[in-house]
Amino acid sequence: MDRQEVGAAPRRRGLWLNWVIVIYTAVALAALFAITNLIISDHNIRWDLTPNKRYSLSELTSACWTASSSRSR
């Protein structure tokens, strides 16, 4: 048998397998990051650094919001 043929067949299969592994790990990592980010978004912590807390609800509004949401449940 020709030497080149013997060497070529496993290399082709190896190349295909390597691409599958790379794509699989990339997709798996992206999915892991997306899920982790979703979880972090659900438990989001905000630090409003503006001097008058422009982007934060006042204590009274927060209390009303919590009360109304618990009543709706």
Partner: protein, 276 residues
């Protein structure tokens, strides 16, 4: 004579053994910093980095002036300074979009074109050390560019004092956004042979991440939520307002890690694809 040749041969063999042993060791920050220094030297040896920094500073200076003019002549509100920072930081990110791809484009693509990448791979260095060095070098260039824009807030502070914390949040956002651009740019550069194609492809990719949710009416609310999550620029908005959110922080960190991981895989692919 023969004795000298034997001594030299032994020394060369010893050096080779040391190099192989170094490569077998774990990740070394020393070697990574050596790559970083080499990259910085090559950056500053050519005029490209000076031209790119000049263009970026010209753009950001223009934005700083026109935004200030807008707020002092047209818009009057209680939080004029806060609104000004929000608008300026949002404009500076466009400057970053146009300039950072030109910093990262040469990292792998030019080395591959010149053939120096083979030389780099033959050094006793891990791929992670090469990548870390290149990423750090690009980040240092970017931080130097960004640090020069601090002159505008300093100038305004000398006229009228204001709260510095919202500005700190904004610059933290710009830093994370710039590092994300660098990570994406490095990955695209590692795929390309030509640095011009790498630069243009990076701009197109980052631009697509910006415009992905422009037409909000065209999508269902669930789809829109996913697109908002993908949009790199939407994640920057809380920082521009002076708010730090853990969700946005984690998004940027994951984005950078993901693209550095892809670049590592792209570098490793040379071992089994046979390309340089």
């Amino acid at each position: 004579m023969a004795e000298t040749a034997a001594t030299l041969g032994a020394a060369a063999a010893r050096e080779e053994t040391v190099n192989v042993a170094a490569a077998r060791l774990g990740f070394s920050f020393g070697r990574m910093f050596a790559v970083m220094r080499k990259e910085l030297r090559s950056y500053f040896a050519f005029p490209l980095v000076y031209i790119i920094s000049g263009i970026f500073l010209m753009l950001s200076g223009w934005y700083a002036y026109t935004d200030l003019k807008f707020f002092t002549t047209i818009s009057f509100s209680k939080d004029i300074i806060q609104n000004y920072w929000q608008m300026l930081l949002t404009d500076i990110r466009l400057g970053l979009l146009m300039t950072i791809p030109f910093i990262t484009m040469r990292q792998f693509a030019e080395e591959r074109k010149l053939g120096t990448v083979e030389l780099l791979y033959t050094y006793p260095l891990r791929d992670s050390e090469i990548l870390g060095g290149k990423f750090l070098a690009s980040t240092i260039i970017f931080v130097m560019m960004l640090a020069l824009t601090l002159l505008y807030p300093a100038f305004i502070y000398s006229i009228h004092s204001y709260a510095l914390f919202p500005l700190f949040a904004g610059y933290l956002g710009l830093l994370l956004l710039g590092c994300s651009f660098i990570a994406a740019g490095l990955f695209i550069s590692s795929l390309c042979e030509s640095q011009v194609i790498a630069g243009i492809a990076t701009i197109v990719f980052l631009f697509s991440l910006w415009i992905v949710n422009w037409n909000e009416a065209a999508f269902e609310s669930n789809t829109l939520d996913v697109l908002r999550m993908l949009s790199l620029f939407d994640q920057f908005n809380p920082f521009a307002k002076g708010v730090i959110e853990t969700a946005a922080l984690s998004y940027f960190i994951f984005f950078i890690t993901f693209f550095l991981f892809l670049t590592m895989r792209s570098m490793e692919a040379r071992k089994w694809t046979g390309r340089r």
